[in-house]
C-alpha cells in the first residue's frame, strides 16, 4: 500500500488573495515545493506569482511541467498520442451520454416533486429519485474506471519509454521536495495529467496543498457544478474519480458565484446525492486540513451543504470510508 501524504491541505481560490503561505508556514515547511499547474494548460509555466508568493517564506518552487511534458510525450510517441486522443473522444461521449440520462432523471425528480400525493409516498419517491441519480453517477464512474483499465492494459502508459523518462524526472523532483502545490484551472486537463504520469503514488510523506480544480482533483470524486451557466439551469455532474487523497468530501470551489445557496431544493439535492460524502464549499481564504484520512482543522469559512437544504459553517469531524478511487487504492 502506498505511503500516505504527510498532510493534505485544501484551500479556497488563490488568485486574488492567496493564503498558501499561511498553510505552508503552519506545517513548518522550509524546503522546496514542487508545483503542479497543469490545469492552466498552455499557460502552465506562467507561475511567477506562485513563486513570488512562496518566496516570502524563502520557500523555493519547481514546476513539474506536467502539461508540457505530456505534449513532449505525445510528440515522441505518435501511436500513444493517437490512442490518447481516441480515449479523450471516448470520455467526451461517455460524459455526454451520462449527461443526457442525468438531465432526464433530474427532470423526472422535478415532475414527481410537483405531484400531489400522500406525504409518505412523496417522501419515498423523493428517495427513489435521488437513488436513481446516484445510480447514474455510480454507473458513470464505473464506466470511466473500466475504460481507464482497458486503456492502461492495452497501451501500458507508464512503461512507454517516452513517458517513463519524464516520470522518473518527476519522481526525482517530488522526492527532493517537502511538499507539492496543486493549482486550479481546467480540472479535466489537470486530472488527466496527474493520471497520465501516475503522480499519486509519488506523494507519500509529502505535504499536499491544493486549491480549486487542484482540490477537486485530489478528492475522491470530481463533481462539476455551476448553478447559473449561460445555457440555463445547470446540473452538477460527476466527471471521474479523483486521486482520493481527501476522502469523505465533495469539494466545491468558488461557491461565491457558482452555487445558488438560497435555493433549498438544489442544496438539498446536492447534499443527498453525494451522501455520505459531505459537500464542502470552499470560498476564498478558506482552508481545510486532512491528516490520517480525516479533517483535522478548518478555517476561513468552509461550509457544508446539508440534507435539509440549508448550509452552515463546517466543523472538523469528517471521517468517512473512502470510495474506491482509481489511483489512491
Amino acid at each position: 500500500m502506498p505511503k500516505a501524504p504527510r498532510a493534505v491541505v485544501l484551500l479556497g481560490a488563490q488568485r486574488f488573495d492567496p493564503t498558501l503561505v499561511e498553510a505552508v508556514k503552519d506545517l513548518g515547511i522550509k524546503g522546496r515545493i514542487a508545483a503542479i499547474t497543469a490545469g492552466w494548460q498552455e499557460r502552465e509555466e506562467e507561475d511567477d506569482d506562485l513563486e513570488e508568493h512562496l518566496a516570502t517564506l524563502s520557500v523555493t518552487t519547481e514546476n513539474l511541467r506536467l502539461h508540457a511534458r505530456a505534449e513532449e510525450v505525445f510528440r515522441a510517441d505518435p501511436e500513444f498520442h493517437k490512442a490518447h486522443r481516441e480515449r479523450q473522444a471516448l470520455l467526451r461521449h461517455r460524459q455526454d451520454f451520462y449527461r443526457i440520462r442525468l438531465e432526464h432523471a433530474l427532470d423526472a425528480a422535478q415532475v414527481i416533486r410537483q405531484r400531489q400525493a400522500p406525504e409518505a409516498i412523496l417522501e419515498d419517491e423523493a428517495h427513489a429519485s435521488i437513488q436513481a441519480i446516484r445510480d447514474l453517477d455510480h454507473m458513470h464512474l464505473s464506466r470511466c474506471a473500466i475504460d481507464r483499465g482497458e486503456f492502461e492494459d492495452r497501451y501500458r502508459p507508464l512503461k512507454r519509454p517516452a513517458l517513463a523518462k519524464h516520470r522518473s524526472e518527476i519522481a526525482e523532483i517530488i522526492a527532493g521536495s517537502e511538499g507539492v502545490a496543486i493549482a486550479g484551472g481546467h480540472v479535466a486537463s489537470l486530472l488527466n495529467r496527474l493520471d497520465l504520469f501516475g503522480i499519486a503514488p509519488m506523494l507519500g510523506g509529502k505535504a499536499i496543498f491544493a486549491w480549486c480544480a487542484g482540490a477537486m482533483a485530489i478528492s475522491e470524486r470530481v463533481v462539476l457544478f455551476h448553478d447559473s451557466p449561460p445555457q440555463g439551469v445547470g446540473a452538477a455532474e460527476v466527471l471521474d474519480a479523483g486521486l482520493g487523497l481527501a476522502p469523505g468530501v465533495v469539494v466545491l470551489p468558488q461557491p461565491e458565484f457558482r452555487l445558488r445557496l438560497d435555493d433549498k431544493e438544489r442544496v438539498q439535492l446536492m447534499a443527498r446525492r453525494f451522501a455520505p460524502a459531505v459537500c464542502l464549499a470552499m470560498p476564498e481564504r478558506s482552508r481545510a486540513r486532512w491528516k490520517s484520512g480525516r479533517v483535522e482543522s478548518q478555517q476561513g469559512g468552509v461550509f457544508e451543504l446539508r440534507e435539509d437544504g440549508t448550509h452552515a459553517l463546517s466543523v472538523a469531524r469528517h471521517s468517512v470510508p473512502p470510495m474506491k478511487g482509481h489511483v489512491a487504492s
Partner: protein, 382 residues
C-alpha cells in the same frame, strides 16, 4: 396610469398648455417615456399626422399619434410588456405624403442592412454586456478567404474568425454562419465570440462567415448551396485549419431564410451537422393547400417544410431555436419545436419580446452558442 399615479403626459392635458409648458415637459426626459408598462412616444413639429411604424405582429403596423390641442406635440401611449425591445420609426405626414424618420428624441438606434431604426427599450430590457467590446477579452482575428465553388459555379468570399489563442496544435469546433456580414455588422458577432470565449462560456471555436449574392434563392432549400457547404466548404476548411472531424463539432447557423438554409442543408446531409442554431427561421408551411399566405417567395420553403413535417426525422443532435414573440414567424417556430423534439434531437427553444431583427438575434447568441457548444466554464476552477 401606473397604479394611482397619473402618466406624465396628462400634465399637459390641462387648459392653458402652451409651447413653454411643452418645452418644460420635454426638458431632461428620456423618450420614449417609460412609466412601468406604459410607454409614451412623442414627436414635435408641424405635420398633418404622425404614425408610429413598427414591426410588432399582432398590433396595427401604423398607429396614429394624437396631437395635443393648441400645441405641435404629438403623442401616443402604449402598454408594452416588461422586457420588450421594439424597433420603430415615425411616419410624418405632410402634403399628403409620408416620410419615415428615426425618433429624434431617442438616442437608441439599431442598424440593419436597410439603414437604422429607433429602439424602444422597455422596463426590464438591458442590452447584454457581452455584446460590446470588453478590453479584457483578447480579440480573435478575421481574415478573408476566397473559394471557387463548382456547385455554385463561382467564387465565394468567406470571412474566417480564429480565436485569440489559436494554435495549430489544437483542434477546434467549427461554426458556419449564413448572412455572415450581417451577423458581423449588425449582431456584433465578433465581439460576442471574443467575449463568450473569454468568459469560458463557449470553447475556442473557428467560425466561417458566409454570404450569398442571391440568398432568397440559395437559402430556400437549394441543393447546390447545401452541397457547397457540406462537400466543398467544410473539407476545404478542414484542410486549412485544425478542425475536429466529428458531427458534434460542426454547427450550421442562420437567421430567417438563413435558418431555413441551415435546417434544409442538415436535412440533405443527415448526421453531418451535429449542431444547428436556428434564429427566427422562416419555416413557412401549410396544413392544407400548397401555397402559404406569405407568397411565392416561400413556395420552395413551404414545399420543403411540408415534406419534413410529414416525416420528421432526426438530422442533427442538438438544435437551438429562437424567435421573437413580436414576429409573425413565432407561430411557425413554436410549431417546429415539438416536431423536432419528438425525433430524439435535443432541442432548446427560447422566445424573446422582440421582433425580426439583428439585435434580437444578437441578444440570443449567448444562449444559443453556449447551448450548441458549451464552454469550459463547468471545467475551470481557478
Amino acid at each position: 396610469m401606473t397604479g394611482l399615479t397619473p402618466l406624465a403626459i396628462t400634465t399637459l392635458m390641462m387648459p392653458g398648455t402652451d409651447a413653454r409648458k411643452v418645452d418644460e415637459f420635454l426638458a431632461g426626459k428620456q423618450f420614449p417615456l417609460t412609466e412601468g408598462p406604459n410607454v409614451t412616444f412623442v414627436w414635435r413639429g408641424d405635420a398633418e399626422g404622425v404614425n408610429l411604424r413598427h414591426w410588432i405582429y399582432g398590433l396595427e403596423t401604423a398607429t396614429a399619434l394624437s396631437r395635443l390641442p393648441h400645441t405641435d406635440l404629438w403623442f401616443l401611449t402604449l402598454d408594452i410588456p416588461e422586457g420588450s425591445r421594439i424597433e420603430y420609426k415615425f411616419e410624418v405626414l405632410r402634403n399628403g405624403k409620408g416620410e419615415w424618420i428615426e425618433d429624434p428624441r431617442n438616442p437608441n438606434r439599431a442598424r440593419d442592412p436597410f439603414g437604422a431604426n429607433s429602439v424602444l427599450q422597455a422596463v426590464g430590457y438591458e442590452a447584454p454586456d457581452w455584446s460590446t467590446k470588453d478590453d479584457l477579452a483578447r480579440p480573435g482575428t478575421i481574415d478573408q478567404l476566397v473559394f471557387d465553388s463548382p456547385s455554385l459555379e463561382g467564387r465565394r468570399n468567406v470571412q474566417m474568425y480564429l480565436p485569440a489563442r489559436f494554435r495549430r496544435s489544437r483542434q477546434y469546433p467549427l461554426v458556419v454562419v449564413h448572412d455572415g456580414k450581417d451577423y458581423l455588422n449588425y449582431a456584433s458577432m465578433k465581439e460576442v465570440l471574443d467575449n463568450l470565449i473569454h468568459r469560458l462560456e463557449i470553447p475556442d471555436v473557428i467560425v466561417a462567415f458566409t454570404d450569398s449574392p442571391d440568398r432568397l434563392r440559395e437559402y430556400a432549400n437549394d441543393e447546390a448551396h447545401a452541397r457547397f457547404l457540406t462537400e466543398e466548404l467544410v473539407p476545404d476548411l478542414a484542410a486549412r485549419f485544425p478542425l475536429y472531424d466529428r458531427p458534434q463539432a460542426r454547427c450550421l447557423m442562420g437567421a430567417s431564410f438563413g435558418a431555413v438554409a441551415s435546417f434544409s442543408t442538415a436535412c440533405r446531409y443527415p448526421g453531418f451537422w451535429g449542431r444547428l442554431l436556428l434564429q427566427s427561421g422562416s419555416f413557412a408551411f401549410t396544413d392544407i393547400g400548397k401555397r402559404n399566405r406569405r407568397g411565392p417567395l416561400f413556395d420552395r420553403v413551404v414545399e420543403f417544410m411540408n415534406r419534413y413535417r410529414n416525416e420528421p426525422v432526426a438530422v442533427s443532435e442538438r438544435i437551438f431555436v429562437s424567435c421573437g414573440v413580436y414576429e409573425s414567424l413565432i407561430y411557425e417556430n413554436r410549431s417546429m419545436v415539438p416536431l423536432l423534439d419528438a425525433t430524439g434531437m435535443q432541442v432548446r427553444f427560447v422566445e424573446a419580446r422582440d421582433g425580426h431583427n439583428w439585435e434580437n438575434w444578437r441578444d440570443r447568441l449567448r444562449e444559443g452558442l453556449s447551448w450548441v457548444f458549451p464552454g469550459p466554464l463547468m471545467f475551470v476552477y481557478e
